[in-house]
Symmetry: D2
Subunit: 256 residues, 4 copies
């Protein structure tokens, strides 16, 4: 297998587990936090305190937002498959897709292009014009509930600044926001997934798997919903509400 | 809806998100780590430093073990559905079931009963006798690779002690281990999921959703596999190895 | 690999696909129905017309029952991941578990034991007594909506009889039903999954993967929900109904 | 709820289940095949014999192809979660995505545009030129194993013709194939998913949920893999082959 694939992640033998060159038992357990390990496993190097603080802020932001689609799916599945916690959690995580969280990846892709552009102002004006004239939703902007401003966004920027982020992706996103407001003639909020896209780029997190941060974050929130579901059985109420409020209006029974 | 279910987890309005009585923006983002939030969301109260240290050690322990079933499934799915990171991660998490990680819940259930037993020594002797005489695998004991001892177990106990754990579940597990060795006439290791069961009981984590800790932990590890998979395409090698080594020996084609 | 596993299911080369000894192109496409193929692939032999008719009846019975948990989960997931039909379908199928359909497997296990019992009447009386005295739900009996009788059950029995089933599992289930009614002092319906357990045993379908028939059946029904969801956006209504009717009553915000 | 969503699929009361205006018990069980029901539930009307024959041929074609990614994932998951058949099946179905089967939807989209084009020849030439000059894979064309021709394709066309299909989508696909060969200067096969796209358009199956046919089909094949897996434990072999052939070449342990 001289030319075949290899792995740089982990190996183990009877008395040790090696993870990216470190001994799980001696170097990692009890010495690293989960957040530090997420960075280590995805980037292949240990994060700086700045990077850890920013990743923690991003992970904390997306954990919980009440009855999200992920929470609904997890609760209904937990009611149907009560003994397999991982099934309810995985089912919920399947919803962390392009509609509600994936805008993170779209926004990151725009910022990653913009940072290379010779004229950032012109780049931002062009993006704003292209999306708004085509009436396409611009990834990272707008929010159905949090209007006029998503309260998480300025907090995330402040945390990144306080933690020592260099800040060039955040500045670019703010520049884009100003261009969007000018083009639209009104204010559109930078939403939390837009802000997180900028923060994760600040800490060198790869744009094309950025959604993984949302998955890990949301995964941490779903356990609480399963625990509560066992007490409240909300899935049965959701089911009953659906049947009561979304009536059948198909063809009537032709006989019997 | 006077008698209907309610939720104690979260609510939001246009300019705030409330999570278990705290303001996400003011109280949590930038102030809490992901691990502290996992505890807060599942237990409804903030963890002590002892509890955070123990939960972090448990989460770090199960994140990564190379080509586990979860990693295999995630890599094959990522190869088939490359643009939806959450699908590959959720698929892998479905494997975190009763065979490889769920022994955590079985071991926790035994320890939770034992801590209430009037005579702990007699309880442990009885459990050891019942399982070994019936040749049933005892949850939390034994490991296919890590023999004679799982190296993670003593480290987890040491971390818990250093962090200030009270220690009664750990002592009970050690007592059970001694009873098992006496009954078996040889040494069986306490494995990492057994040790984690004891540690999580120390920090008051509910036994019946304990598997959620493994799911969150493993979720944090799978992102790294997806990133590597994009470079190495190991899924194609796994597929080819399977076809080359597991031949068809069904009925031959009867014609043509 | 002399001692390693093999497969008896399929192999292929550049110009043919062999499935259990038959040529997919020449022998199966255009000559067999999907239902016949399900039997062929699981049992390794082609079904008789009796077996096909019974399997079709079982598959048709469980396809659709309106807003089931599977349909709810599929619709919510389709709304979140609109471009990946398989993700919404798979998410829904995860709910086909022990609560709503798995009773099929439990009932089949009882019938499989009973058919071997020296005294079927005594066996049935014993099962009825054991479950009812312990107040345990008896797999295959009772239904939350379809009272006093599940209308699908007599129809399934009639279809099996008309198709030429031997009938011994059906007779055993009816004997068990009589014993249950005597023990309970009132009538409990044999539900559709109980009847299907008997029918699938009649056609020699393995008891321990019987739930697969429910999964295939329900899979066939979910496509229609995805199509309708794209027009009606019921997921958004379900979400709004949940938020409006399951209020937050956790701790109030202490500051802000 | 005057303006809210409704459903045209199903409703039920204590003694009946209505499905698109028909009585499940009286009109469907024992009278319709599973394949006929798939059409009925997705299209809202009963299929003609032509439509049933074509849908059956499409469903049979994609059920089984040996160790596909779906089969690998289902087997590994079944080994990890042995008691929940639906979990292993759903995990496998998640892989039925854009890489291996979704080309069906891409090909159908092209054919649906082409059928409306004023000049079909010019349309086909344009498509062939656009894709080949951009070196983009053309959905429905090419196959890694089945070269020079996918043997399923002519069979599917023949079945459709024999069943009485009108044939305009099939003719268009053949016209596109000729244009592709001219543009490429060599022969590229129409693969099975391309042929199925044409056949499903012939029977008026909606292009944007066409992948659902592949999901249902593959679902029917996975049960057989789970049954075989319980005997052969191929997952353990796949795991061992992976570890033996994809070695760790990350950083060496620096200490211990």
């Amino acid at each position: 297998m001289t030319d075949g694939p290899t792995t740089r992640i982990a190996c183990s033998d009877a008395d040790s587990v090696t993870i990216r060159g470190e001994n799980l038992v001696d170097d990692l357990i009890g010495k690293k936090t989960f957040t530090e390990m997420v960075y280590f496993l995805t980037r292949g190097r240990h994060p700086s305190p700045t990077e850890t603080a920013i990743l923690d802020a991003c992970l904390v932001t997306l954990m919980e937002h009440g009855f999200t689609p992920a929470a609904l799916v997890t609760r209904i599945t937990a009611d149907s498959v009560p003994d397999q916690v991982q099934v309810a959690m995985a089912a919920g995580l399947l919803t962390v897709g392009s509609v509600f969280v994936g805008t993170m990846e779209g926004c990151a892709a725009i910022l990653a292009r913009g940072i290379e552009a010779p004229d950032a102002e012109a780049f931002c004006a062009g993006i704003a014009r292209d999306y708004l004239s085509a009436k396409r939703p611009l990834p990272g902007f707008g929010h159905p509930f949090h209007k006029p401003d998503d309260p998480r966004t300025p907090r995330l920027f402040a945390v990144a600044e306080a933690a020592g982020a260099e800040g060039r992706y955040i500045r670019l996103l703010k520049m884009l926001s100003a261009a969007v407001d000018r083009e639209a003639g009104r204010h559109l909020t930078i939403n939390a997934t837009g802000a997180i896209a900028a923060l994760l780029l600040e800490i060198d997190f790869p744009a094309d798997v950025m959604r993984a941060v949302a998955v890990i974050s949301r995964c941490g929130g779903l356990a609480g919903h399963i625990i509560e579901e066992r007490e409240t059985r909300s899935a049965r109420t959701i089911w009953a509400l659906t049947e009561a409020n979304i009536p059948y209006d198909g063809p009537p029974l032709s006989r019997e």
